[in-house]
């Protein structure tokens, strides 16, 4: 039980809004000390895993120069302009369409999109633009709701499309786990059993996108009345 102290440190640290990096470091040090490691050994582990996981940060770092450059020259504004011309487009529909494209492409093994590469420069401005075309200027809170849902569309599409492709980390990891246990499990059956949840996840996105559209319309009406 004492080994769970790290989780407690994280929960308390996040709740009191201490600096998140410090909380994570403290949780690691405490857990390591409880497990009988020395401070130096804990730092060695942090260093080892930090280097191994550089791949998590690299896409953002390599993507920001081109995205920043294009943004300075009006990429977001252009995306908004284009979407304003299209009829019958709502913020929710933009997000549902993006989620579908993301899910299908990654299920076929093609990893396009991403928060830095697609959501910030294209998807979020398009969704905002669609809402502005319908309802005029948007309050700050609505803009935040739309952006948060754009990030959600990326995550849902990415997570629940990925497991249908057999050469992906998750399937290979499960295969490796069963191999180690000497249990025969085919990669294809695991990939196919990912499909029902993928459909359900898409339905959930569609539902939330409709709720979002209704919220935006509601806010616009209320602002019109006041």
């Amino acid at each position: 039980m004492i080994k769970l102290i790290g989780i407690l440190v994280v929960a308390v640290g996040f709740a009191f809004r201490f600096n998140t990096l410090l909380v994570v470091l403290a949780a690691g040090v405490v857990t390591g000390l409880v497990a009988g490691l020395s401070f130096h050994e804990i730092m060695t582990l942090f260093g080892k895993y930090f280097v191994e996981n550089r791949y998590m940060t690299m896409p953002v770092v390599l993507m920001v120069p081109v995205i920043g450059l294009l943004e300075r020259h009006g990429l977001q504004e252009r995306a908004e302009m284009l979407i304003r011309r299209a009829a019958a487009v709502t913020a929710g529909r933009v997000l549902v369409l993006y989620c579908a494209v993301r899910q299908i492409s990654i299920a076929l093994g093609v990893n396009i999109g991403g928060h830095a590469g697609a959501v910030r420069p294209l998807v979020a401005p398009m969704a905002e633009g669609a809402a502005r075309a319908q309802h005029g200027a948007l309050p700050e809170a609505t803009v935040e709701r739309i952006r948060a849902h754009a990030a959600a569309a990326e995550n849902i599409g990415n997570f629940f499309g990925e497991d249908i492709f057999i050469a992906v980390g998750a399937i290979l990891l499960m295969k490796g786990f069963f191999d180690a246990q000497k249990i025969e499990v085919g990669v294809w059956s695991m990939a196919l059993w990912g499909i029902p949840t993928a459909v359900a996840a898409f339905a959930a996105m569609w539902w939330r996108a409709r709720v979002l559209d209704r919220e935006i319309a509601q806010t616009a009406v209320e602002r019109g009345l006041s």
Binding site: F46, G47, Y55, T57, L62, L70, H73, M174, V185
Partner: protein, 320 residues
């Protein structure tokens, strides 16, 4: 032999980080000039030399970065970017040509995963097949930045300046995913997972097939919320709950259990600040005031998908 390894792109990313650090050090108007410059310089060192530095040294460098961030010495620059009017004018001038460089990145990703990872002459491969998607992404970003500079007619310094501005918008949260991954590793090393699996297994009446399914899906989601990573949860929870109860005791199908179980873990990923690269970094990137806004948007979907998973697994796992 591989011509393009993922290490090459770590070095390129590191060089870019070093340029951002240097620009900050030269920026006299920066509110936290030296702290911010040191932070990005340390990260640059880890990216460029990560492979050859001893892990302990990297650990202490990371410690220094955490101290800088916690002491509030890492801040955004006060440099002003372009105004909305300027950007709208540029959008009018360049029109749809602006999209081509942005679309070049996914195009390279597609080419990379379909063709480029198969190109080889004898033993000399164009890229490591294992990291094909990462490498094509890096390649796409580099080609796109050159192409974007031609299209917009920007100066050479502009990508570094604008990229640096975006990077400073994210700030120290950029390294949060790596820190949390390291924490997950330490949790695994200390055996935190075994304790969680044991607790769940003992607290619930798992002799009922439905309870076994619910306990497994709950364990996957809860453990992922704690660790921020469904992969870490999979081995622990499947070894601790899934295999002994669903497969061995109740005769369930392991493929269905694993596939749906992993996706239940992903529902946990949607709910946790521990999965910083999916939930917190995007909130920073989209400049949201509430850093939990993405999690709040995802919460209803995560719960709905999780309930669907439990029902799906219970209906199918003992039948096929």
């Amino acid at each position: 032999m591989k011509i393009l390894s993922v290490e090459v792109f770590y070095v390129i990313a590191g060089v870019f980080l070093a340029l951002v650090a240097a620009r900050t050090a030269w920026d006299r108007a920066h509110p936290k000039r030296w702290g911010t410059a040191s932070f990005w310089a340390l990260l640059a060192v880890i990216f460029v030399f990560g492979k050859i530095l001893p892990p302990a040294i990297v650990g202490y460098l990371v410690l220094a970065m955490v101290v800088l961030a916690a002491a509030k010495q890492v801040a955004r620059s006060s440099e002003t970017s372009s105004t909305r009017a300027e950007r709208t004018a540029e959008a009018g001038r360049l029109q749809n040509r602006l999209f081509w460089p942005a679309l070049l990145i996914p195009a390279t990703a597609i080419a990379g995963s379909l063709v480029l990872d198969r190109i080889h002459v004898g033993d000399v491969w164009l890229m490591e097949p294992r990291h094909a998607s990462l490498i094509s992404l890096g390649l796409g970003a580099l080609v796109a930045v050159a192409f974007a500079r031609r299209t917009t007619g920007a100066r050479v310094s502009e990508p570094v300046q604008e990229g640096g501005r975006l990077l400073q918008t994210i700030g120290w949260a950029l390294i949060l995913p790596q820190m949390l991954a390291a924490l997950g590793g330490i949790f695994a090393q200390a055996g935190v997972g075994v304790v969680v699996a044991d607790l769940v297994g003992r607290a619930l009446p798992t002799q009922f097939p439905f309870v076994a399914v619910a306990a497994y899906c709950l364990g996957m989601a809860l453990f992922t919320i704690c660790m921020g990573n469904a992969f870490a949860a999979f081995a622990v929870i499947t070894g601790g709950i899934g295999l002994p109860l669903i497969v061995v005791r109740h005769g369930g199908n392991p493929a269905i259990m694993a596939a749906v179980g992993m996706l239940s873990g992903y529902c946990g990923t949607l709910l946790t600040p521990m999965a910083a690269n999916f939930n917190l970094v995007p909130a920073m990137l989209l400049e949201l005031r509430d850093r939990n806004a993405v999690i709040k948007a995802q919460a209803p979907m995560a719960v709905a998908i999780w309930i669907f998973n439990v029902a799906l697994m219970y209906v199918c796992v003992y039948r096929f």
